[in-house]
Amino acid sequence: MGRFILRRALFGILVLFVISFAVFLLFFVVAPGDKAGNFCGKGCTPERLAQIRALYHLDQPWPSQYLLYVKRLVLHGDLGYSFTNQQPVRAIIFDRAPATASLALGAAIVWLSIGIPIGILAATKPRSLRDRAATSFALAGLSIPTFVLGLLLIYLLFYQLTVHGAAFFPAGQYVPLTQNPWEWAKHLFLPWLTLAVVSAASYSRITRGSLLEVLGEDYIRTARAKGLSERRVIYRHGLRSALTPVVTLLGIDVGTLLGGAIVTEAVFGLGGIGQTAVQAVINGDLPIIFGTVLFAAFFIVVANIFVDIAYAMLDARVRLA
């Protein structure tokens, strides 16, 4: 187990290097143009340009810039400074991370509590009306793009309610949890609902499929033959191993979202990592782009390792080698 984690962690670090290198290649080798010139602005003097170049090390060839970047990151955890407002990128990311984390974790709780029960309901009575209803819900959820659902929810639950004098759900913006927990939850309600409905679909589908498979296995028949109640058979014996693929999916989904829920943040103006990243791409703010890409990739890598470990712990048949 220890060796497995070590090997996965080393591969994860390699992945982060490859990804950061790819981003560097993309912006320094493929992308044309003068990085410093874009930020010098109007009334740019040669001295100021040289100053900016020296400040951001843009006067050096890109391979040594990459080495410098990696060195600073590894030794000091330093991600450099934003081109647009000169703030340290690490501070910007830590500043925006709570909004993204609140969105991702809250939504995960909501989609699990919608998706898994629907999946169980469908699996315990396959081919019944409720199974077909659950399947339809899943397919509809899979087919609706996040931004479409977000805008529709804003229209129905924010705009229409407000017009009719029942302004309950604000249409976005982020209020820190420490500032006002009630407002925090209220402002995040619509974003949570959006992400949850879109994702709950795949969770109900996977729960259904995997529970159906498990319920057909011999040890379930044994459990029933022992005279256990159907409830106990399904919840204690069946669900435990049926949830393994759910954990896999959950790990990867949450890992991906923690690195920035780009679309949902854009629709609701939450100002998290995702929105910061998109803004940086539009502004050509390289240090922020590098920082957010690495931050997001880090969570994906960690989620993958976590999923493999959880897999082995939940399912006795899996041995890590």
Partner: protein, 322 residues
């Protein structure tokens, strides 16, 4: 599935000189694809989706003719009739059947032309992803060993990319266009296909008929093309059908974020993005493009589900574990 392989071996044994004498002649042989088609035809939902998809393809092909019939081009602005006196979009009427947009254009004409981009990007990006994925996945699964390790790790790296963020970075560097959208989507999807294909090939290469082909002196390339690939047809068809809606949504998302197909070319994604300013007063501007997007992705998803049941019940498990 094994039937094909048996035929294959028989054919090679006989040197391709003619049908095996022992084969019963009275029974008409049906290929697995014919059987699957027969099953699919009984599935009403799948057939309805197929009809919807064929209609969408026709709309995409004849988009110009259709909008000529309506009389409003997708980018024609009607400042007097297409905008309400207060400057807001006009509601659906005999003039604009699905209403107007924020600069006085016909929403229906723009949706019709948007079909083109969505289907083009969806189908071409999926085709590219599937071709790359099948080639890489088959190579990795068939040869195993170091080749497999190298290719599998490469796919792992691709799957670890924060793809949407990296996709918008790529688009911003190359400046948005239809081509770059297709390229970016294929770039971040092929590894999914590759991983599934690899898994399938790993088990196929251990089958007796592959061993038989090898003992008859067939080369690696021939075995991959003749013995392995035909067995991948079912999962590939199913997975492609399910990838198309993903690619369509991906394109719409890029357009929505302003990094897809550049305006004024109408796409469902950028129509929805443009509706953001006024949709609270003009619901049709948001709802109809959204509906077009939803119906299209739903049709492909339902058809993919039906195809999976019709083609190969085993494929269901492979996909669920993706």
């Amino acid at each position: 599935m094994t039937l094909i392989a048996a035929d294959e071996v028989a054919e090679q044994k006989g040197g391709g000189s003619g049908p095996d004498i022992s084969a019963p002649a009275a029974i008409q042989g049906r290929t697995p694809l014919q059987l699957a088609w027969a099953r699919l035809r009984k599935d009403k939902v799948s057939m309805a989706c197929l009809v919807v998809i064929v209609l969408l393809i026709l709309v995409a092909i004849f988009a110009t003719q259709l909008t000529d019939l309506i009389g409003h081009g997708p980018n024609e602005q009607y400042r007097d009739k297409g905008l309400a006196p207060n400057g807001l979009p006009v509601s659906p009427s005999g003039f604009f059947w699905l209403g107007g947009d924020d600069v006085g254009r016909d929403v229906l004409s723009r949706i019709i032309h948007g079909t083109r981009i969505s289907l083009l990007v969806g189908v071409v990006a999926t085709a590219m992803a599937v071709i790359i994925g099948v080639v890489v996945g088959t190579t990795a699964g068939y040869f195993g060993g170091r080749v497999d390790t190298l290719l599998s790790r490469t796919m792992d790296v691709f799957l670890s990319f924060p793809f949407l963020l990296f996709a918008i970075s790529l688009v911003s560097v190359f400046s948005p266009s239809v081509k770059i959208s297709i390229f970016v989507i294929a770039f971040f999807t092929w590894a999914n296909v590759g991983r599934i294909v690899r898994g399938q090939v790993l088990s196929i290469r251990e089958k007796e008929y592959v061993e038989a082909a090898r003992s008859l002196g067939a080369g690696d390339f021939r075995i991959m093309a003749v013995d392995v690939l035909p067995n991948l047809v079912a999962p590939i068809i199913v997975y492609s059908t399910l990838l198309i809606p993903t690619a369509i949504v991906f394109e719409a998302t890029l357009s929505f974020l302003g990094l897809g197909v550049p305006i004024p070319t109408p796409t469902w994604g950028n129509m929805i993005a443009e509706s953001q300013g006024t949709y609270q007063q003009a619901w049709w501007f948001l709802v109809f493009p959204s509906l077009a997007l939803f119906i299209t992705t739903l049709a492909f998803n339902l058809l993919g589900d039906g195809l999976r049941d019709a083609l190969d019940p085993r494929a269901a498990r492979v996909l669920a574990r993706k």
